[in-house]
Symmetry: C2
Subunit: 218 residues, 2 copies
DNA sequence: CGGAGCCTCCCCCGCACGGCGGAGCCGGAT
DNA sequence: ATCCGGCTCCGCCGTGCGGGGGAGGCTCCG
């Protein structure tokens, strides 16, 4: 497959880099095309390989991940989506990175599955990345305007309705009937939901809905 | 649709009968073909209408649900599946009914969705009915040999494996690869899972897995 | 006024999925 | 010795689904 998602991994720790590479390379449709160990190296590698996604450690010697993010976004015509990777739950640097234009962030201890979903998500859509991990972080860090759920900010109201109905096991036709619209419309919304959640079919979308807390078992 | 599931409702309370009828009649593929208000009437109505499923109240004037169940199962060549309906959580009569050959039981306060699933389940397979409600009951009534999950007793080991993999969003082909068997085999197992869980597609099966606690959000 | 975002709906296409029926193999129970 | 349940596969077939486009109408906002 030539249209695989091209990923560059930037982290000063070798173990982390290889871990990320192994996980992502094992995944069809994702290809790690470069590694970097410093912020400066990250910038040049990205310029060189022109990836779709960059996994960027916040803490690196020399130029750190935040400044590297800034430079990449500022100097490339079609910049990749940058996902910040961090070890700590509430690393204030993460917010700096997000402010600098990062598409989202991940905890290093997160499940491989989430990493993959995250990469797929940022690669496909231009919505912010909000994997399940963000909840624990958001809960203790920004209890102020904590919105209901990770995606709801990015899923439109209609899309959220559709996802909720998908999570009750309904077919597109049934959802259409329920919402009083045509089946084609539902298909469109479903496609948007899949893109924004980084999933490939309705089953995965429903799983993501459960895993993220968007819907809960009764 | 001529092959709808034919249901007979037996309960002495009119409200209950109509509630069940309304819920079930609204559901495509399910048809309420008779009602009874006593155990004796239940037996004759069932003999007359030959339903696939009987919803039987345990407490009815005259012959109660348990004896009606016994008689139906004893005297019909191809007896319907009998689901006992009760108001109380730990009604010891329920166990009598199960011993008499009932296919499962439901709490009257249960969700409409569960009723429907229950009817579909018993109609399609010959496995015992174990909707989500049973857990609360099983928990406090028979803490002894309380098995892990409602269905696991009825799903074979292989089927449970397949369901777990379905709940990770995998396709049949991926499950096959993972298990080291052919795709056709996985299809067979999936079909069994759908039948036993009373679901019509993999998405619904995964939802049921979450709702029953068979799998849990992390 | 003119975009941008959202909702609505259309086409075509390929495929995974699920229903149906059949089959062989094996081990344990009767 | 027979039967049954579980696991393994095979076809065929219809269709729901998802990907790829495009298109018109709406509101909101600069």
């Amino acid at each position: 497959m030539s249209d695989a998602i091209r990923v560059v991994v930037a982290d000063d720790e070798r173990m982390v880099r290889t871990a990320l590479r192994v996980i992502l390379d094992a995944e069809p449709g994702i290809e790690v095309v470069g590694e970097a160990t410093t912020g400066a190296e990250a910038v040049s590698v990205v310029r060189d390989r022109l990836p779709g996604v960059v996994l960027m450690d916040v803490r690196m010697p020399g130029i750190d991940g935040i400044r590297a993010t800034e430079q990449i976004l500022a100097t490339l015509a079609a910049p990749p989506r940058i996902v910040v990777v961090t070890t700590f739950e509430n690393d204030s640097h993460v917010y700096d990175a997000l402010r600098a234009g990062a598409a989202g962030f991940l905890l290093k201890r997160g499940a491989a599955e989430e990493l993959i979903q995250a990469v797929r998500l940022v690669a496909r859509s231009d919505s912010l990345l909000f994997p399940a991990q963000i909840r624990e972080l958001a809960a203790r860090h920004a209890p102020a305007h904590a919105t209901a759920h990770p995606w709801t900010a990015r899923l439109t109201e209609r899309e959220a309705q559709v996802l909720r109905l998908m999570a009750t096991g309904r077919t597109n036709a049934e959802i259409a009937e329920r919402l009083g619209v045509g089946p084609a419309t539902v298909k469109t919304h479903v496609a948007s939901v899949l893109a924004k959640t980084g999933t490939r079919d309705r089953t995965q979308a429903v799983i993501a809905a459960y895993e993220s807390g968007f819907v809960r078992p009764r």
